[in-house]
Every structure is written in C-alpha cells, then in structure tokens.
Symmetry: C2
Subunit: 318 residues, 2 copies
C-alpha cells in the first residue's frame, strides 16, 4: 500500500507493507484524512524522533475485524490507544495512559495511508447521517469540546479566543453554539469572518485594544498566542492552552503568580461528545474544507496546508 | 528618620523625611521587619524601575491615627493598598485592584524605615498573645495560606512541595498542620530537616526519583523549580506557582497541554486567616529566624539573607 512517511522531518510517499492486525485490532481501508497543525508541527520537530506514518484525523471502512458486524462500516478511531490495565485506565483516563500509543503521533502509524490497523476499543462507528465534512472533523471537534469538559463558562463571563485557524474555528463554533458570548483575536480577516458570521466579535491584532477577559482560550498554535493570552486575561482569570508546537519562548511566570492566573492545558476530547454535537446542531462544516487532494499528491497537500488563510486540507485515498 | 532605599538595584541606608499621613493613613513606628526573597529579587530587578523604601513584612506601634484607640497598638499592614472604588474592590478582590499600590513593592514606600504610613483599612492590630517571631511572619504566612484558599487538597491526594526556603517552610507548616501528607524536594539538608521534624518526607535533588504527584506547589523561588514541578506532576494534576523572580527561562507549554496540567498562580493571602492560624496552632516559629540585625546594619543583613541555608533575617528598628 501507499503511505506518507515522516522521518527526521522529511515526508515521503512510499510503498509499504499493508498493516497486519494484532490482537483485537480492526483493519480499516482509509477513505479520507485531514491534515492537522500537529502534523505540520511533527514535521517541524514537535515530537523528537518521530518516524512513521503521520495522520490522526480520518475515516474509512472496516475491511477486517473479529466482530463481523463491523465489516464495511464507516468508522474513525479515538487516537489514544491505552493499555487498559493501569491506574489511569482504571479511572477512565485512557487518554492519559502513560503506556499509550497515539495514532500518527506517538509510536503508532497513522492514517495517511491506504490502510490502518487500530484497536477494536478505539474504533468508532460514524452515524450514517453525518456528512463527510463532519465525519472527518470528529477528532479535532472532540478536542475543541474538551474545553467545556474542563472549565465551566458562565453566561456572564467574557471569553476571548486567540487564534482563527483550524482548531480555533471549531472551538469558536462549539462556544457560540452553547450561547457563549465570544470575542476572537486572529490574524486572517477571511478566517475571522467565518466566526463573525456565527456571532463572534472579531479583531485583527492592530485593531485590538481589549478590556481584559475572564477566560482566554489560546488556540493560535504559536508562542505569540500565549503572550497575547497573558496580556488579555483578568487577574484571577483562566487561560485554556490548546496549542502544541515545536520550540518555545522566554517565559517568566511572575505575572501568572502576581495576578493569580489559572492556566489549564487541554488536549484531546471524547469522540462521543463530538458526534453528539454534530447530531444535535447539524453544522454545515463544508466551509472548513479549504482543499482536497488525491493521496498521490499528499506532498502538495502538505504545502497547501502550510499556507495562510487555509483551513482543513483533505487527502482522498479512494 | 533612617530608611533603606533601593534605586537601580543599589541599596543605601539614608536619612529621609519622616512620612506624613495622607487621608486616613496611620503612622507606624516600625519595630521589626523581615527580609523576604521578593526584596532580594527587587534588588535584582524583578520590579523594573523600583525606586524607594523596600520592606513589606513588619510590625510596629501606631504613633498617629485619626482613631485614637489605635495609638500605641502593635500593628502590621496588609500590603496591597486598594482604591476601594473599582470593580475588583467591589467584588472583594482588593488584592487585585488594578490601581493598587503595594507596600515596599509597587509605588509605595515600605517598612525598612523607622516610620511608615499606611491606609487605615490596611492596618491590622496584632493580638497581644502572638509572640514577636509570629507577628513578623503574618504577611508571608498569609501568602502560604492562600494556597488552600485557591485549591482543595483531598486527604488521598499526593502533594509535593518544591523548595525549602522562607515561603516554602511556611507553606509546608500550613499543609502539615492541616493533616496533608507532604513530600518536600529541597536543596538544603538543614532546611529540609525542619520540615521533616514536622512530618514531611524530604529529599535532596540527587536522591529524588519521584512517582508523579497529584499536586505540586512550586515555592523554590527559582526557574529550575518550575521545570522540576512540571516533571513531577501527574497528568491532569495541578501545579501551584508561588515564586516571583527576575529573569525567566525557555518554556514550551506543549507538555502542559498534552498532560492537561493546571497551573495556578498564587500570591498574597488574607491576614485574618494567618492570624487565625497562629492563634489556633500556636506554632513556635523561632526556628524561622536565622539572624537579627540592628537597622544600622541593614546592608549586612541583606548580605546574610542571600546566604544558603538562611531563613528569615530580621531588622530591628528599636
């Protein structure tokens, strides 16, 4: 089969062995996969030593499984593959299992390939009524919804979202759907306009002189976003951190201490919550798809995904 | 009067005007003042442009006040002098008033002087039964107790304190008094032994290979403490940040995001809580006082306070 391999920061579309199922794994023929900022950051070195197939946002159809009722089903997969035995797993914290592998990120091949094998317990059947553009966004939408799993936002609280990219768009959509009054500070007018149409107040950096906010969600994917979030949060306020990237920045936590700020790291969320959201609100996420490429043009797709103003770039495997 | 002035990072004991009361201020003849790590950091540049009298841990006797019943009373002062009118003040968040001055730290002369004038509402009468070594620690003890105002620590949770210095000693004392099982990672055997005698498990860095902790309190006063705290906290755990210092360090928040860590900045606390603690537990804090200097030797006292293994150094004004 063909797969997009990443080794030492270099991408190559290569012919590889089709994966074999191990244990209770399910073999999926990948249909579509989305390129995430994390994929771009891994190529830039965010996961030192990463070597393998990238890709963790996808859906496909089950080709082999112990459970015959799964064959042919349209599925995606929860990306954290847990051991199922440790204290974290026993507490329902599989996403934090210290022995986990993570599809396309940590010690497990990802979905930028014609086939992927994933544990049965990670396999999620996608309801038939969900259109393709929603099905492909289940993983990042779950990550967006994790914010509301971790913090409670009162209707009277002021909320700033820093960033207007792929993940920020989904976070904005979730918060606005929940009736939360939202301000967005972004860098791209076209992306800000998408959130403005949904009811957000939006600002470009040079026109932004904010009153401080009770809650700031940092999803810019850039170190500058952290600095902006700190500058925009009220004393005793909360900053939710969603960005992961290679590199870092010079930081002095004194202002966090003096202003008694809370910072809350936030990563993956529950796929069931994301599917529930898609079924409840039936969002038309076609605006999130900036471009589609046949898998044979995966390298061009990666170049496209790096561009300014670009949201989700989709690889089509079949 | 004599006062210890700090300007451009240089300390000098000088003859100055005795302060005049403004508005409802109370004039206090300073009796004792403690040197805090924040004082040392201000000299190192932690508060850019600071120029004035340092010192915010003190007690003295009221010499002048509108309220005659205060005259002669032994008092200290809550260090955050709020405007009393803004939204923060109206919500009871005077310590976060954006227009506040802070005794010996922000735009207000401090207590390393023979006299200090402070607002009436900041003046706290010290109960007669509290010994001198407790009276002088009310401010840092309140800061230590702020941790328990901000987070709830369950009896089953594992807690690591990073640091064994002045503030860390008080935090350790508070947590141990509340029956919390505590591990301390410090650098000075003699200081660790003080906490060990109170029931803490203690470790020097080279002997420390911890299982991760539910809660880590970073009170080392050093950037390395932050790095250690991050390395020692469980996924979904909480780090309380107590250290303020000049300078910074290279930081990538990705591990905070991936492990969904919460960081909680923590600064000053309520003096009433600290006094309540002192009355309830009657701790003998004489072990916290490493040295006493007559005010005329304030510069020597500062040198002493920088030394390893040294806890509180006290200036005696009378």
């Amino acid at each position: 089969m063909k797969a997009l391999l990443c080794a030492n920061g270099t991408l190559a579309l290569q012919e590889c062995e089709k994966p074999e199922r191990r244990g209770n794994e399910v073999l999926i023929r990948v249909s579509r996969a989305g390129i995430c900022s994390t994929d771009l950051e891994i190529v830039r070195g965010y996961v030192p030593g990463f070597s393998g197939v990238l890709g963790h946002e996808f859906f496909g159809h089950v080709e082999e499984a112990d459970d015959a009722s799964l064959i042919g089903k349209r599925v995606t997969a929860e990306i954290n593959c847990a051991c199922g035995k440790c204290d974290y797993c026993n507490k329902g914290m599989q996403r934090h299992c210290p022995r986990r592998t993570v599809i396309g990120i940590v010690n497990r091949n990802g979905a930028f390939a014609e086939y992927i094998a994933v544990p049965r317990e990670n396999t999620i059947v996608i309801p038939d009524e969900l259109p393709e553009c929603s099905a492909i966004l289940i993983e990042p939408l779950a990550a967006a919804m994790e914010v509301l799993e971790q913090i409670t936002i009162g209707k009277e609280q002021s909320v700033l979202l820093v960033g207007d990219g792929r993940l920020a768009q989904l976070i904005g959509r979730v918060l606005l759907s929940e009736g939360i009054s939202l301000t967005v500070a972004g860098k791209h007018q076209s992306k800000l306009d998408l959130l403005k149409r949904q009811g957000a107040r939006t600002f470009l950096p040079d026109r932004f002189s904010p009153s401080p906010f009770d809650i700031v969600i940092e999803a810019s994917g850039k170190p500058e976003g952290f600095v902006r979030a700190l500058a925009c949060v009220k004393p005793r306020g909360t900053i939710v951190l969603k960005s992961t990237y290679a590199g870092g920045f010079q930081f002095n936590p004194s202002s966090v201490v003096v202003n008694e700020i809370s910072l809350v790291g936030s990563r993956c969320g529950k796929f069931s919550e994301a599917i529930g959201f898609l079924q409840k609100y039936k969002p038309d996420f076609s605006y999130m798809i900036s471009a589609r490429y046949p898998f044979s043009q995966a390298l061009e797709a990666f170049e496209k995904a790096k561009g300014k103003g670009v949201l989700k770039v989709v690889l089509e495997m079949e």
